[in-house]
Amino acid sequence: MTEFVDACRQEWKRLGVPDPVANEMAADLDADLDEAQADGVAAEEVLGSSAFDPRSFAAEWATARGVVPAPAPVTTLVEDRHAEPDRNRRNRTLAVTAATAAIVLAFIGLALAVRHRGSVAVARVVRPFPKFFPPGVAKFPGPFVDHGGGHDFHGLGVLLFLAVVAGLIAAAVYWSRKVRTNH
């Protein structure tokens, strides 16, 4: 038995190929390589580029025979066409979820803006930022600006609303261009 066939047998054993199948493949390969050698033909002429990689060759052959599971499914063009609707469905679900979340955020922003209309915060400087910290005072003694409880919820709401609407418009433009390109 050639070194190549021996390496294949080891790989088939490692992959759990049933002995009768492994024996059959090994016998066929051995007989072919013997005949090629007798004809003065290099193993590369029989095995192609696989002649340099017995493990991959053995795994590919066993997979093709269906005696070991495929390590990583390589989709053909036909299979890929079937997979395409699944991918599109996943993308669509993702897009709908993202759009719903964005719309909810926009409504929150709008609600904040409307509810706090006219309640623009008054920020009042209580004391200037100290040049040095007196002993016993923490480095960051707290805010130096007293908002007086008047957080600018109106501005925040408007900003949130505008940002989400701008994001939605940008996403819609991108999506429509992508759809047009695909068709």
Partner: protein, 114 residues
């Protein structure tokens, strides 16, 4: 002419199954015998993947039938022949290949003339 180089390998990869079904039309053959028939027509396997996994796929797809028989003075071999489904696949594949080849020829001829 021996098909060589990367482009040759890529082109051959797409039609090697057809070539195998075609050489089986001469009569049932075992693996190495098919390699010899391909080489006799100028198709070298050097640089190309092996035919064994491809033959296994053809068998799984029902495009070839197999049986074991003693070869000339050698050990019993696994012989392959095209099944009726394989014959149909060959006819359809040859038609596809010729259509693709004609289209490519039309483009390449135009390029050569200009």
């Amino acid at each position: 002419m021996v098909v060589a180089g990367r482009r040759g390998t890529e082109l051959l990869r797409g039609v090697l199954d057809l070539c195998l079904l075609a050489v089986m039309q001469e009569g049932p053959a075992y693996g190495y015998e098919m390699t010899k028939r391909l080489r006799a027509r100028g198709l070298s396997m050097v640089g190309e993947g092996s035919i064994y996994p491809l033959l296994a796929r053809l068998e799984r797809d029902g495009l070839v039938e197999t049986y074991r028989a003693a070869s000339n003075g050698g050990p019993p071999r696994k012989y392959y022949r095209a099944s009726p489904a394989g014959q149909s696949a060959l006819a359809a594949g040859v038609s596809d290949w010729r259509a693709a080849r004609d289209s490519v020829d039309a483009v390449l001829d135009m390029e050569v003339k200009s």
